[in-house]
C-alpha cells in the first residue's frame, strides 16, 4: 500500500490529499519509511528531519480539516526534500562541507518560506558536491550518493542527492540549485525531471552562493507537470534578491498540461549543432535515444530544424573562469570567525586571526573547492583580470546574443542533457578536466540566463537513463514545458509507464 502511495506523482498525491483519501501525515510517513529503508544504500540525505516533517504535515492536515486551505498551491501537503545548499531555519545546513558542519541557520531561504507557506513538509536535506562544486556528488565531504539505477554509478552532480531521492521514491519532489547543470545533469543520470528556471525567476535569497551570476534554484521531480507545479510554488519576485525579476511566474503548469495533449503543431524546435543536437560526437547510447526523441517530437507536429550557436564552443572555457572567480569571493566568508568550523593553529604557530583563518580553510575545504578558489583568485588578480575575467565576460555576452538570435527563428532549442549517461565512481575524480567537459551541454543555459529542462528520453544499452534538454527564451519558461510534457507523454506510451518502471527498486519492500 505505502509503495503504491510513494510511486504516485506529486500531482496525484496532491489530489488524494485534497480528496482526503490520504493525509499529509500518512504520505510524509510513507516517504520517511522509504527513506529509512533506502538510505543505507542510497545516502541521498545528509539530514532527515522526520519530526519537523511530521509536525508540518500535522499542521497542514489540521488546516485542511478546518477548511482553511484557501489560496494554497495545488501541491499543498505534499512532502519535499531540499538540497543542502539552501538554508533552513533550525535544520542543519552544510553545503556538504566540513567548514559548515554543525551550523544551524537562523533564517529560512525565500523558497523555504514559500514551501512552508504551501504546507509542504520538509523531509530533510540532500547530499551534493561540496558547495555544489562537482558533477558527480563525489566531492561531498560526507560521502557518496548512489545512483538508484546502478550502485556502481554516480547520480550526477552537484545535486545528486535531490535527484537520487526523487528517482528512488524517497521524495516525490526536491529542490536543487543549478549553476552549470547541477539540477539537469543529475536528472538526466537518474531518469528524473530537472529544471533550471530563467535567471532571476526564483529568488536566490537563502541559496548558499556558489557563483551568484549563474546560480538558480529549481525543481526536481518525476514528471514534467510535477516540476511545473513546484516551479509555480517557488517562483516569483522577491525584494530580498536584487537580481529577482519583477514579474509573476510564467504559466508553466498550464503549459505542461497543454503538452500532455501531445499536440506540437506550430512549435518550432531548433537542435543546437554545437552541443550534440545533430546526435553526433556524444556517447552512442545518448545519441540514439536523442534522435529517437526528435522523431517523436516531429510525429507530434513539431517543426524541427538544426540551429547553430557558434559561440557555444567557447562557453565551457568562459564558464570555468567566471564561476571560480565568483566562487573565490563568495567562499571568502568561511573563515572560522563567526560560524561553522574553527581550527586553531598548532602550538608554535602564532595564534593570530589570519593563521586561524588559514588553518580553518585548509582543514574545512575539500580539494575541488580549493582548486576553484585558487583558479578564481588568479583570474581576478591585477594584471590578469582583463585577460581572464574580462574575456570570459565578453564570451558570455556573445553566448547571450547567440541564444537571442536563435530564438528569433525557433520557439525552443534542444540538445542532449549530458554527453554521457551516469559514469562509474572514481572514473573522473582524478581528472578534473574530464569531469568539467561533461558540463558542456548544460553550461550555456547558465551563461545566457535562459531556462532549461531535462526530461528522460530512454535508457542506453546498460539500462542507464538518458536526458533530453529543452531551452526556452528568458522569462518564457512555459515555452519549454509544453514540448517537454508532450515528449514525456509520447515516450511513456512507448514504455508503458514512467521511465522509472525500468528501474529495479529492491529497497522498496513487497
Amino acid at each position: 500500500m505505502s509503495n503504491e502511495l510513494v510511486k504516485l506523482t506529486a500531482a496525484q498525491m496532491a489530489e488524494k490529499i485534497r480528496n482526503k483519501e490520504v493525509s499529509s501525515r500518512e504520505l510524509t510517513q510513507a516517504e520517511l519509511d522509504v527513506i529509512e529503508a533506502a538510505e543505507p544504500t542510497m545516502h541521498a540525505f545528509l539530514h532527515v528531519a522526520a519530526d519537523e516533517a511530521l509536525a508540518q504535515a500535522d499542521a497542514f492536515d489540521k488546516k485542511l480539516a478546518a477548511g482553511d486551505t484557501e489560496g494554497l498551491p495545488e501541491l499543498a501537503g505534499v512532502p519535499i526534500a531540499i538540497k543542502d545548499m539552501i538554508v533552513t531555519k533550525g535544520i542543519p545546513t552544510t553545503a556538504a562541507s566540513k567548514i559548515l558542519e554543525g551550523w544551524v541557520p537562523p533564517y529560512d531561504a525565500t523558497v523555504i518560506e514559500k514551501i512552508k507557506a504551501a504546507g509542504m513538509p520538509i523531509l530533510g536535506k540532500t547530499n551534493l558536491d561540496e558547495f555544489a562544486q562537482g558533477s558527480s556528488t563525489e566531492h561531498s565531504a560526507f560521502g557518496n550518493t548512489y545512483n538508484p539505477w546502478n550502485k556502481d554509478c554516480v547520480p550526477g552532480g552537484s545535486g545528486g542527492g535531490s535527484a537520487a531521492a526523487v528517482s528512488s521514491y524517497e521524495a516525490p519532489l526536491a529542490l536543487g540549485t543549478d549553476t552549470g547543470g547541477s539540477i539537469r545533469q543529475p536528472a538526466s543520470f537518474t531518469g528524473s525531471v530537472g529544471v533550471k528556471p530563467t535567471y532571476g525567476g526564483v529568488s536566490r535569497y537563502g541559496a548558499i552562493a556558489m557563483a551568484s551570476s549563474l546560480d538558480q534554484i529549481g525543481p526536481c521531480a518525476r514528471t514534467v507537470l510535477d516540476a511545473a507545479l513546484l516551479h509555480e510554488v517557488i517562483g516569483g519576485n522577491d525584494r530580498r534578491d536584487s537580481t529577482s525579476i519583477p514579474a509573476p511566474v510564467p504559466p508553466v503548469a498550464a503549459a505542461a498540461r497543454e503538452g500532455l495533449k501531445r499536440d506540437l503543431k506550430g512549435v518550432r524546435i531548433g537542435l543546437i549543432k554545437e552541443i550534440g543536437g545533430t546526435g553526433e560526437g556524444f556517447q552512442p547510447g545518448v545519441a540514439k535515444r536523442f534522435n529517437e526523441a526528435v522523431e517523436q517530437l516531429k510525429s507530434m507536429g513539431a517543426e524541427v530544424t538544426e540551429v547553430s550557436l557558434p559561440h557555444l564552443s567557447y562557453s565551457l572555457g568562459a564558464y570555468y573562469i567566471i564561476m571560480p572567480s565568483e566562487v573565490s569571493s563568495n567562499l571568502a566568508r568561511y573563515d572560522g570567525m563567526r560560524y561553522g568550523l574553527r581550527v586553531m593553529p598548532p602550538t608554535g604557530v602564532p595564534q593570530t586571526a589570519a593563521n586561524m583563518m588559514a588553518y580553518t580553510r585548509e582543514a574545512g575545504f575539500g580539494d575541488e573547492v580549493k582548486r576553484r578558489i585558487i583558479l578564481g583568485t588568479y583570474a581576478l588578480s591585477a594584471g590578469y583580470y582583463d585577460a581572464w575575467y574580462g574575456s570570459a565576460q565578453k564570451v558570455r555576452t556573445l553566448v547571450i546574443e547567440d541564444f537571442a538570435k536563435a530564438f528569433e527563428q525557433v520557439d525552443v532549442l534542444a540538445s542532449p542533457t549530458a554527453p554521457t549517461t551516469a559514469f562509474k565512481f572514481g572514473e573522473k575524480t582524478s581528472d578534473p578536466l574530464a569531469m568539467y567537459l561533461g558540463d558542456v551541454t548544460t553550461i550555456p543555459a547558465n551563461l545566457a540566463g535562459v531556462p532549461a529542462i531535462s526530461v528522460p528520453c530512454g535508457v542506453d544499452d546498460s539500462n542507464m537513463p538518458v536526458g533530453f534538454q529543452f531551452f526556452a527564451p528568458q522569462q518564457h519558461d512555459e515555452a519549454m514545458y509544453k514540448p517537454a510534457a508532450a515528449l514525456e507523454a509520447a515516450l511513456e506510451d512507448t514504455w508503458g509507464g514512467n521511465i522509472l518502471t525500468k528501474m529495479a527498486t529492491p529497497w522498496l519492500a513487497d
Binding site: 559548515l100 537562523p106 552562493a209 551568484s212 536584487s242 572567480s325 566568508r333 588578480s381 591585477a382
Partner: protein
C-alpha cells in the same frame, strides 16, 4: 625615536607640496546600506544585525534607495558628474571585522564622477579643490583589542568583534591631487574638511560628528622639487578624525618628507597613523604591489540606473549651500566679513540665525552668543551647541531688554541664571526679582538721596559738566541693588538739575 624634521617655512620654500584627501562620510540613514538592520550609534554590541549584515551563507544585499539619494545630493553639492549607470564592485580582502571578507564598494563606475569644491580660506579668498569621485560603500565592523596597552592590537591577548557598524552606508569623497597649495597646504586641507562637513550637515545626509567617526579622512601628502616636476611618492595617513589633526598631519608630513629628501633619502609609499598624543605620524604598513583587492562587479547587485528625471527631483529638494547661506545672512545682518568669520569660527551661525528667527535683532543675538555664552562655554570646554541655553531663551532676554524690563546688567545675570540651569529667562527673573524698578516714586527718592549727599556733583552737573553723572547713577544702582534703569535715572537727574 624622533624623526628628523625640516622647518616648515624652509620645506615649502624648497619643495612643492601636493595633498590629497579621501574622506569617509557615514550617512545617517535609518537602516544599513544593503539590509534593513537599524543603525544607531552606541547600541549594545552585535544587536543591529540581519543575516545580510552578518554575511550569513545565502544572504543577499539589496541597495538602500535613501543612501543612493543621499549620494546624489552630495554629488550635486560637489558639482560632480552623476553617472546614469553606476555599479557596485567587491573589494576582496580578509579581515575579522568584514563579515563577508569583501567590502561592497564602487570601482570603475562610481555614482558620482568628477567635480569640485570651492573652499573659503581665512583671508576670504577661494581655493578650488578638484574632486575625482564620490562613491558609495559599506562600512566594516569594529574590533576591540583587549589585554594590550591603549587598546592596540600589539600585545593584546584577544579581540572582540562588533558588527553593528558592518554595513552602515558610507560615501568616500576622493580629491584629485591638490596642487598649488604651497605654504597654505594645511590650511587648505583643514578648510576643505570644514567646508565638506558644513555641506554634509546642510544636506542632512550625515550627523557629521567627527568625534563619533562619522567623518574621517585619509590624508595623502607628497613633495616634488617644483610645480612642473612629476608627482612625488606619497604617504597616506589613515583615519584622521579631527580638523586640527588633519592640518597637523599635512604640516608634519611636509616637514618629515622634506628632511628625508634633503638628506638624499627616498619616501616610502606607506600608510601612516596620526598620533594625537605625540603630535606626529607613525609609519604603518608598506604599500606594495601585493595589495590586490581583486575588484570585480558584484553579481548580487544589478547596476544602479539614475535617470535625469530623478536627478532633477533631487535637485529640487536641495537646501541652500552653506557658503550661499553665509553670504545671505551676512548681508541680512549687515555685518563685516571679519564679524561673520568670528561667528562661523565660534560655531554660532545656526544659533544666531535661530535667535533672530525667534525675534531678536542680529546685533543682540550676536552679542550674547559671542559674549557671555561663549565665555561660559570656553570655561567649561564645551561647544556653544551644548550649552544649556536655547536661541529662544536668548531672544526672550532680548525682548525683556527691549520692553525695558531688564537693563544690561540684569540681563547678564538672567543669562547666567539660565546657563546655571535655573530655568527660562522669565523664571530666572521671577526667582531673583531681577526686574527693573518701574516705580518712579521710589526711584526719585533714591535720586534725591544721592543728589543731597553729593552737592559738589550737583554743582558740576549744573555747570554742564556731565562727567560725574555716572557716579550718581552708580549710587542709585547700588541702592536699588542694580535694578534701576540707568536711562531713567539719568533722565530724573537732568530733570532735577534743570528744575
Amino acid at each position: 625615536m624622533a624623526e628628523k624634521l625640516m622647518k616648515f617655512s624652509e620645506a615649502v620654500k624648497k619643495y612643492d607640496p601636493v595633498i590629497g584627501l579621501e574622506t569617509h562620510v557615514e550617512l545617517c540613514t535609518n537602516t544599513k546600506l544593503f539590509c534593513p538592520a537599524h543603525v544607531e550609534f552606541g547600541a549594545e554590541p552585535n544587536t543591529q544585525l540581519t543575516p545580510v549584515s552578518l554575511g550569513l551563507p545565502g544572504s543577499l544585499p539589496v541597495i538602500n534607495a535613501t543612501a543612493v539619494d543621499f549620494a546624489i545630493k552630495l554629488g550635486l553639492a560637489l558639482h560632480c558628474k552623476i553617472n546614469e549607470w553606476s555599479q557596485f564592485a567587491r573589494k576582496n580582502y580578509f579581515y575579522p571585522d568584514m563579515p563577508r571578507n569583501y567590502q561592497i564598494s564602487q570601482y570603475d563606475k562610481p555614482t558620482n564622477g568628477e567635480g569640485y569644491l570651492d573652499v573659503e580660506l581665512d583671508d576670504g579668498s577661494i581655493f578650488r579643490v578638484p574632486i575625482e569621485r564620490a562613491h558609495i560603500e559599506d562600512d566594516a565592523g569594529k574590533n576591540t583589542h583587549v589585554g594590550g596597552a591603549d587598546g592596540r592590537i600589539e600585545g593584546a591577548d584577544h579581540s572582540l568583534c562588533d558588527y553593528n557598524r558592518a554595513g552602515v552606508p558610507l560615501i568616500e569623497i576622493v580629491t584629485k591631487p591638490i596642487t598649488g597649495v604651497g605654504e597654505r597646504a594645511s590650511e587648505i586641507a583643514g578648510a576643505y574638511m570644514r567646508t565638506l562637513r558644513d555641506i554634509v550637515k546642510a544636506l542632512g545626509i550625515s550627523h557629521a560628528r567627527m568625534e563619533q567617526g562619522n567623518m574621517r579622512a585619509d590624508v595623502n601628502v607628497s613633495l616634488r622639487p617644483s610645480p612642473d616636476a612629476p608627482l612625488g611618492t606619497r604617504s597616506e595617513t589613515k583615519n584622521v578624525n579631527t580638523f586640527r589633526g588633519i592640518e597637523k598631519t599635512v604640516t608634519y608630513e611636509i616637514r618629515r618628507q622634506a628632511a628625508i629628501l634633503d638628506d638624499g633619502g627616498e619616501i616610502l609609499q606607506e600608510t601612516r597613523h596620526w598620533d594625537e598624543a605625540t603630535q606626529t605620524t607613525a609609519g604603518g604598513r608598506l604599500k606594495t604591489d601585493a595589495d590586490d583587492y581583486r575588484y570585480f562587479p558584484d553579481p548580487d547587485l544589478v547596476m544602479l540606473h539614475i535617470t535625469p528625471e530623478h536627478i532633477e527631483r533631487i535637485k529640487a529638494q536641495m537646501p541652500e549651500m552653506p557658503r550661499e547661506r553665509r553670504n545671505r545672512l551676512q548681508s541680512e545682518w549687515g555685518i563685516s566679513d571679519d564679524a561673520m568669520r568670528d561667528i562661523v569660527n565660534a560655531g554660532a551661525l545656526d544659533l544666531i540665525e535661530d535667535t533672530v528667527k525667534a525675534g531678536a535683532t542680529a546685533q543682540g543675538a550676536r552679542k550674547w552668543w559671542l559674549g557671555e555664552i561663549a565665555r561660559a562655554a570656553n570655561e567649561q570646554e564645551k561647544s556653544l551647541d551644548d550649552m544649556p541655553i536655547s536661541p529662544s531663551d536668548v531672544a526672550e532676554v532680548e525682548k525683556l531688554i527691549a520692553d525695558g524690563k531688564l537693563n544690561d546688567k540684569l540681563a547678564k545675570k538672567t543669562v547666567l541664571g539660565v546657563l546655571a540651569g535655573e530655568g527660562t529667562p522669565s523664571e530666572v527673573v521671577k526667582k531673583h526679582g531681577y526686574e527693573v524698578v518701574q516705580d518712579t516714586g521710589a526711584l526719585e527718592a533714591e535720586v534725591d538721596k544721592a543728589l543731597a549727599a553729593n552737592p559738589d556733583i550737583v554743582e558740576k552737573l549744573k555747570s554742564g559738566n556731565m562727567k560725574p553723572m555716572g557716579a550718581i547713577i552708580g549710587q542709585v544702582m547700588k541702592a536699588t541693588r542694580g535694578q534701576a534703569d540707568a536711562k531713567a535715572v539719568s533722565a530724573l537727574v537732568m530733570a532735577k538739575i534743570k528744575g
